[in-house]
């Protein structure tokens, strides 16, 4: 057990993956000497060389498109998209090529590509630096999408994603990069595509992923003080979803609140709400409530804390659910 920040967990996980398999390459803007703008690849070029940690030209479609070719050649490229808002120029290569080649080739061509995206707000950034595009990937068949919420998962999930023969969009909660956590480097906690009950409770089920897990855990602490017992589930995997733990929980609590930073319309909350209702219809005491970013383009950062779900909004939703 070592204590380290989430970002360092990723760095250590990347290092372990590169040591384990020399087909693993890192590619992205400024990932070399600079170690990435968030230093997630810090030190890797120094230790693995310029041919395994490749500073890419400033072209996201190029980054993903050449990775497809590298994967055709047997490599396992791990790509860094510098910020969430800059992934869109690569959208075509991701959804039409990366996602589909295995299907198109009837399994002959594998695309073991990991696309790392630091996502979400809360760091006071300028526009295009605080977006939550996970929905745009989760709706695409052929991609897998995951998000970690703590240092231990960061360390293990990035390795599992790299080991996966499927393409994985890896959403990193950038505002939690600096959060410390215990990392157990000796034993893999659980499979990549599994959700996890991170706090048990009885009165309502709160579902989150990535940066919002911490917010929800804090909300659960606050609720506990007022006598409300919240169960908190960290989804971890956004595509495929692993909702069995959610269904099991909601059948007990009768109430569900989904929390994410992405806007409400067609966010993950919509899908989760629809599925909970399909599977737990008679258990629900209230409709699933979504606590999300509003349906605005990401606002100027001075107002982002009001825009993003926070402890108060989660508790208010819990109250609404309980009062329904």
């Amino acid at each position: 057990m070592t204590k380290m920040p989430l970002g360092k967990g990723l760095n250590a996980g990347l290092r372990a993956a590169m040591e384990a398999d020399d087909k693993v390459l890192i590619m992205g803007e400024d990932v070399g000497k600079l170690g990435g703008v968030f230093r997630i690849t810090d030190g890797l070029q120094k230790d693995f060389g310029e041919s395994r940690v490749i500073d890419a030209p400033l072209a996201e479609s190029g980054i993903v498109g050449t990775a497809v070719g590298l994967a055709y050649r047997g490599y396992r490229p791990v790509l860094e998209i510098q910020f969430d808002g800059f992934v869109y120029p690569a959208y075509d290569q991701i959804v039409s090529q990366v996602a589909k080649l295995h299907f198109r080739s009837q399994g002959r061509v594998k695309m073991p590509i990991v696309i790392r995206i630091p996502f979400g707000g809360g760091i006071g950034a300028v526009e295009h630096h605080s977006e939550s595009p996970e929905g745009q990937f989760a709706l695409t068949a052929g991609l897998k999408v995951v998000s970690c919420s703590n240092a231990n998962d960061a360390y293990w999930m990035i390795q599992q994603a790299i080991a996966s023969d499927d393409p994985v969009v890896f959403m990193e909660p950038k505002r939690r990069y600096w959060d410390q956590g215990e990392v157990d480097t000796t034993s893999e906690p659980m499979p990549l595509h599994a959700s996890s009950v991170v706090r048990e409770g009885a009165d309502a089920t709160v579902i989150a992923y990535g940066p919002m897990v911490k917010t929800c855990l804090e909300s659960a602490d606050a609720a506990a003080e007022e006598g409300t017992s919240l169960e908190v589930i960290d989804l971890r995997t956004l595509s495929p979803l692993d909702l069995d733990p959610v269904f099991e929980s909601v059948r007990r609590t009768g109430r569900a609140i989904v929390v994410h930073e992405a806007a409400q319309t067609l966010g993950l909350g919509a899908e989760i709400s629809a599925r909970i209702t399909e599977k737990c219809f008679y258990s629900l005491e209230a409709p699933v409530i979504r606590v999300t970013g509003y349906d605005l383009p990401y606002p100027p950062s001075r107002v982002e804390e009001e825009y993003l779900p926070g402890l108060d909004r989660v508790l208010e939703a819990v109250d609404r659910s309980l009062a329904f």
């Binding site: 030209p57 072209a59 070719g69 055709y72 002959r108 897998k144 996966s164 495929p240």
Partner: protein
């Protein structure tokens, strides 16, 4: 702005490399020569004829409702065979949706090309087996794949060993219209920056559906390469010898670790864009007639006849083409319709429980229909 800073008039800078005239006469060229003998030329001729036959049969199959669509390569056979035959087994080709002749050169069973157009599959061969990627429909996307693969060759040390039997390179096919796409230009940029062993082979067939080349690019396409810091060359795309010679040189250069090149094969799409297209809306039939005179196959035939190739060669080839035609017709009709249930298994390598649930639902639903409809 003073003229000195204006790009040179490029017309003069990019003369067409030609080694065989439309009349079937071989002409010398200062820099390029075809390196085979007449037997090799007969080999090329065979490929040209067979690839045209693929088109012919596929076209007929489409007209008979056996294919949903076909994208003919009619008129572009020399560009495809000339370049395709310049590849070595260790090389890798990234085609568009029209490289039927290249597929033939790579050893892909032409019948497999039909699956995509029949609507029974999305790619019917194993790219790794013949070094021939799946057909790619999204314009330009494959040029980045080619560049990435080429970067991989460099990383693997498969380049610049001075070992012709082992050194490898990549060829990326695309059209004149594709030169407008961001991806294609990013591929040029990456190839230059990484000095990647890739040859960009543009078949300028003068149309992107209805758009003539000047709608997609100003000046000759070959000149685009210079802007990215590598060399471009323009070749008579209806001259199989010139296409072969130029591609051989460019591939050699790439295999030697001397980086990318762009080849513009100036040719003409004699057919429609696809069987869904109606070219009468946007081009004169007179134009087509002019280009018939430059037919890429006729000129080789004339040359071979002038060289005294016996009639039996042509007759044998006709028989071979007929057999290929029969093979195509028979295989096409026997290509099985896909089983939707099986497709659920190809979305992921590692599967997904979620999807397996959907598959189960689908199968249950489908099975529930059978007793009632009792047709399927």
């Amino acid at each position: 702005m003073p003229d000195a800073y204006v790009a040179d008039d490029p017309a003069g800078a990019f003369p067409l490399v030609q080694l065989l005239t439309p009349e079937g006469e071989r002409v010398p060229h200062a820099d390029f020569a075809y390196d085979g003998d007449d037997d090799s030329i007969r080999g090329l001729y065979r490929d040209l004829v067979l690839s045209r036959r693929i088109d012919f049969e596929a076209h007929a199959l489409q007209r008979h409702g056996e294919l949903g669509l076909w994208a003919p390569a009619l008129g572009q056979e020399a560009a495809q065979i000339g370049s395709g035959r310049a590849l070595r087994p260790q090389d890798f080709a990234f085609p568009t949706y029209r490289e039927h002749g290249v597929a033939l050169c790579r050893g892909v069973d032409p019948a497999l090309l039909l699956g995509l157009f029949r609507g029974v599959e999305l790619g019917g061969w194993d790219p790794a087996e013949q070094g021939f990627a799946l057909y790619s429909i999204v314009i330009g996307a494959q040029t980045l794949h080619a560049t990435g693969y080429a970067m991989g060759l460099t990383l693997d040390g498969e380049v610049g060993r001075n070992d012709p039997e082992r050194d490898a390179a990549v060829i990326a096919y695309f059209g004149d219209g594709a030169t407008s796409q961001g991806d294609v230009n990013e591929a040029f940029d990456w190839a230059a920056v990484f000095n990647a062993p890739v040859v960009f082979f543009c078949q300028n067939n003068q149309y992107a559906i209805s758009a003539s080349t000047d709608r997609n690019t100003r000046g000759p396409i070959a000149q685009r390469a210079g802007g990215f810091g590598f060399s471009g060359i323009r070749v008579d795309g209806n001259d199989v010898l010139a296409c072969h010679a130029v591609t051989t040189a460019a591939m050699e250069k790439a295999r030697n670790g001397e980086g990318p090149s762009l080849i513009e094969a100036y040719t003409y799409r004699m057919g429609a864009h696809t069987t869904s297209d109606d070219p009468s809306r946007y081009r004169d039939s007179a134009e087509v007639e002019t280009w018939k005179l430059k037919d890429p196959i006729e000129r080789v035939k004339r040359y071979l006849l002038l060289q005294g190739t016996p009639q039996s060669f042509f007759d044998d080839l006709d028989t071979e083409a007929d057999e290929l035609g029969k093979h195509l017709r028979e295989t096409c009709k026997s290509l099985p319709d896909p089983d939707l249930a099986a497709l659920f298994d190809h979305v992921y390598v590692d599967g997904s429980p979620e999807l397996m649930e959907q598959k189960a639902q689908y199968v249950a639903y489908r099975d529930s229909l059978e007793p009632e409809g009792s047709e399927s």
